[in-house]
């Protein structure tokens, strides 16, 4: 018999009882469907241990690495602390180390993180402002010994959170933060696999992290990053990315401008939306791995288009920035 800890309560799993059955028996509303490991409605997170292997059957590798499991298949092998996968409790406090403008409206925020905090580049965290406004931001750097993470925060018109970060947040301040969440991170299946990274605006943030992670892990296949903005000044980190092209034979970088385009742009930028430029660059994408981040419409359309061009569904990773565009 194992004890399940869920939302600070203990529940006893009977002999041969699944996690889902235990919670349902205790009248806890857990989303579920087929109850046999097919529909994936009942995915949960194991907080403190590796879940039983068979309970991760059919989940994507990135989900498995995050210790997601199917509660309908999981008969615990030991006591488990479990949570909903969308859990976003503010369990950490991160200290502001640096703020630096990357272009006219995007700020690099460097935060010192807790020793216990672990992340993969490209995952996101939730942050909370003094006014209790919460937002999600992607991590754009790789784990390091100095224990810091970097975020790229675009200042939005009337943005309550981004305005607070830009104007009021000071070096040395503490910011409540969640654990690192999400499955949009570098998954090294085969070192020779070709990687397509497409992002708009601050959708560059997770891609920048994924790119550095792949390069640090000596990814051998082509890596091609397309970053799009309306105007040249909407793009950023151009110099750093151009330098990476010089240093890494397998890395290609195509900044794209979707708005007014002139002859001066021609030598540095491609004309058009990043996703369209990317699609026209390759006639087929069989066996590629694709990462899509930024505007939700772009992400959704592109997901279908790269699938139709031959990318398998398990090889498409997405991060749609919903809150940026909803309000």
């Amino acid at each position: 018999m194992a004890i399940l800890n869920y939302q600070q309560q203990d529940y006893i799993c009977q002999e041969n009882e699944t996690v889902l059955d235990t919670l349902l028996r205790e009248n806890i509303a857990i989303a579920h469907g087929c109850r046999q490991g097919v529909c994936q409605s009942c995915v949960m997170l194991s907080v403190d241990s590796n879940p039983p292997k068979n309970s991760q059957h059919g989940l994507r590798e990135n989900q498995q690495q995050q210790h997601h499991f199917l509660s309908c298949l999981c008969i615990p092998e030991q006591n488990m602390q479990i949570a909903d996968i969308e859990q976003s409790d503010f369990v950490y406090e991160f200290k502001v180390l640096a703020k630096q403008m990357l272009n006219h409206n995007t700020l690099l925020l460097r935060l010192l993180h807790d020793d216990k905090f672990t992340f993969k580049s490209g995952q996101f965290i939730n942050l909370k402002s003094v006014d209790n406004v919460t937002r999600s931001y992607s991590i754009s750097n790789t784990p390091n010994q100095q224990h810091y993470i970097e975020l790229q925060i675009r200042l939005l018109e009337n943005g309550r959170f981004s305005g607070w970060v830009h104007n009021d947040l000071k070096i040395g301040d503490n910011v409540p933060a969640s654990a690192a969440l999400g499955g949009c991170f570098y998954n090294k299946k085969r070192s020779q696999q070709q990687l397509l990274l497409v992002g708009t605006g601050s959708g560059l943030a997770p891609l920048y992290g994924i790119l550095h992670d792949a390069l640090e892990q000596n990814h051998e296949g082509t890596i091609h990053l397309f970053h799009g903005g309306r105007k040249a000044e909407d793009l950023y980190l151009n110099d750093e990315l151009t330098q990476l092209v010089i240093e890494n034979k397998n890395f290609h970088y195509t900044p794209c401008i979707s708005g007014d385009y002139n002859d001066e742009h021609r030598s540095h930028y491609s004309q058009g939306r990043a996703n369209e430029v990317a699609l026209s660059a390759y006639s087929n994408l069989n066996d590629w791995q694709v990462y899509l981040c930024g505007h939700p419409e772009m992400v959704k359309q592109m997901q279908t288009q790269v699938f139709l061009k031959g990318v398998n569904l398990d090889d498409i990773y997405i991060d749609a920035f919903h809150c940026l565009y909803k309000k």
């Binding site: 046999q36 097919v38 529909c39 059919g58 569904l313």
Partner: protein
């Protein structure tokens, strides 16, 4: 004796088939309209569940689920021709994967058994 599901190759067969099958469905302009508004990842989980059932694998799909799930599409005009188009893509997928003709036939019989529930008849 091995079940149909085992003969086809079980879950690995479903995973190979789902990419090919769903790509055919989305490329077919006569039916892609019915898939436009759906979250792709959720859609794939559903397609996998459908293929698992059609392959004779473990499932608890009920006619009622099928009816409920497709009722909004029937309202939008889902009919016999669309059903046949999807069935055609399923058959072509199996053939492309080199599945033996007698097994293809068995799968098509299972898939065909969903006809009335899908079209709300």
């Amino acid at each position: 004796m091995d079940s149909l599901y085992e003969k086809l190759g079980g879950e690995d067969a479903v995973n190979s088939a789902v990419n090919i099958f769903y790509r055919k469905v989305l490329k077919d302009e006569t039916i892609s309209q019915f898939f436009n508004d759906t979250d792709m990842n959720k859609q794939i989980a559903k397609q996998k569940a459908f293929l698992t059932m059609a392959f004779g694998g473990p499932n608890n799909y009920t006619g009622m689920d099928m009816r409920k799930a497709h009722a909004p599409l029937v309202k939008k005009g889902l009919n016999e021709s669309h059903f046949n188009a999807v069935a055609g893509h399923l058959q072509a997928t199996l053939e492309e994967l080199g599945v033996a003709a007698d097994l293809v036939k068995e799968v098509m019989v299972v898939a065909g058994s969903t006809h009335d529930d899908i079209l709300g008849l």
